[in-house]
């Protein structure tokens, strides 16, 4: 197999703090470029899909800018993909609209549906958003190399993918209920937390992702 030189593309579709991810990749001395519209993706080995905000708006923008098909093709051709926060949620099959609760189609790399925390409002009264450093119980796969199990990462979100038995290598976190805080399958990865905002532990995870080949 010919190994491609590591070059990372950051999807700059107007959602999320792109500069933080650029800073992290710069600090780790990786070659990267942020792109508003997909161009020459064959030159890249990895894509990072950041994002904060609503599932519907994020997905709409990915469609509009032509990222949806391009990201899917990129993964088909063997590229590595990492979604962060909303970027991870978009990797799933379905999301829900904030106001109408209508189902919205995602990128569909993983089975599952992104919904607001605490669907059963009677039993849970924890404040939302879930914000701060929380524990991530992971499966010690390759991307977690050098990161202790139950390390803490920075979260800020009100929507989550409920944790249930599945065929993926998931990490889970508890905030009133168990949800998926990290997911991976083959070359597609997603974290509900922000590794770029989680001190050196977070940088370690980003480094491990970029070193995959």
């Amino acid at each position: 197999m010919i190994t491609k030189k590591t070059k990372i593309c950051i999807v700059d579709y107007g959602f999320g703090n792109i500069a933080s991810i650029e800073n992290a990749l710069g600090y780790l001395k990786f070659d990267y470029s942020s792109q508003k519209i997909p161009k020459d993706l064959d030159n890249f080995s990895h894509i990072i899909l950041p994002g904060v905000g609503s599932f519907e708006a994020g997905m709409g923008k990915l469609n509009e800018l032509g990222w949806e098909t391009n990201i899917k093709n990129f993964v088909k051709k063997g590229g590595y993909l990492f979604g962060i926060c909303l970027g991870m949620q978009l990797l799933f099959k379905h999301g829900t609209d904030e106001k109408t609760d209508q189902i919205i189609e995602g990128l569909g790399f993983f089975e599952g549906k992104c919904k607001k925390f605490f669907q059963n409002k009677k039993t849970n009264k924890l404040p939302l958003p879930h914000v701060g450093f929380n524990e991530v119980i992971h499966k010690n796969t390759k991307i977690w190399n050098g990161i202790k199990n139950s390390s803490y990462f920075y979260f800020i979100h009100s929507y989550r993918i409920y944790f249930s038995e599945n065929s993926y290598d998931c990490a889970r976190t508890i905030y009133g209920e168990e949800f998926i805080s990290f997911i991976e399958k083959s070359k597609v990865f997603g974290s509900q937390f922000h590794p770029e905002k989680s001190h050196l532990t977070g940088l370690n995870l980003i480094q491990n992702f970029c070193n995959l080949q």
Binding site: A24, P127, V131, K197
Partner: protein, 219 residues
């Protein structure tokens, strides 16, 4: 196993210099280069969970914002924790500039008393989690009074009412900032939490008075 308590470091900024605040009077720390050199930014920040930087100026001009963002850009280069920026956010366009210049979250104080529509507009573009509301409060005759405009304007609304309004507003976190305890290192006023807990179902942060590790562990 649970969500950790957060320690947030708060700095103020005015005309090229960073300051610590003591009872709302500013004490100069240094400029951005001094801060990076002597405060060990990038190292010191390994021991705090988040950072807040507030531009202190009553009517910030375009160049006030420009200088602020220029120094923030320098500071945040090696900062891998959430950054909340605030000060002088009076309309949507200014909030946009804050986000474009690297704010993960913005801090809103005065606007929360005045114009909820602008806050809703910001939330619909950047998400409610990106908006922190800071409430400056002070005890007068044992009654909690609220202030806007950097602690200069007394607001008529009670803290309970204000929080009730905020609970319905698209914002992510509430920071209760005690003017009495600000920077005195004499301990955090936690009694206020009992007063507010019932009124709001959003994360609440308490600010002002932390001086010793015990002050933090008692929170």
């Amino acid at each position: 196993m649970s969500l950790l308590k957060r320690i947030i470091f708060c700095l103020h900024y005015k005309e090229g210099y960073f300051y610590l605040s003591r009872n709302f009077r500013l004490q100069k720390v240094g400029d951005v280069d001094w801060l990076i050199r002597n405060f060990g930014f990038g190292k010191a920040t390994n021991y705090v969970d988040e950072i807040i930087i507030i531009l202190v100026k009553k009517q910030p001009s375009d160049s006030d914002f420009g200088n602020f963002f220029k120094d923030i850009l320098k500071l945040r280069k090696n900062l891998f924790i959430p950054i909340t920026l605030g000060g002088g956010i009076r309309n949507y366009e200014i909030s946009e500039r804050f986000f474009k210049n690297g704010a993960d979250k913005i801090l809103i104080n005065t606007l929360a008393f005045k114009d909820k529509e602008i806050i809703e507009k910001i939330a619909s573009a950047y998400g409610s989690q990106a908006i922190c509301i800071m409430i400056d409060h002070k005890k007068i005759n044992n009654e909690i009074k609220l202030y806007s405009y950097c602690g200069t304007k007394l607001e008529k609304i009670t803290i309970e009412e204000h929080l009730k309004n905020l609970n319905a507003l698209s914002c992510g976190e509430i920071i209760l900032n005690s003017i009495d305890n600000d920077g005195n290192a004499a301990g955090i006023d936690l009694s206020i939490l009992d007063k507010v807990r019932g009124s709001i179902n959003k994360p609440i942060l308490v600010m002002g008075g932390a001086g010793k590790p015990e002050h933090l562990s008692s929170a």
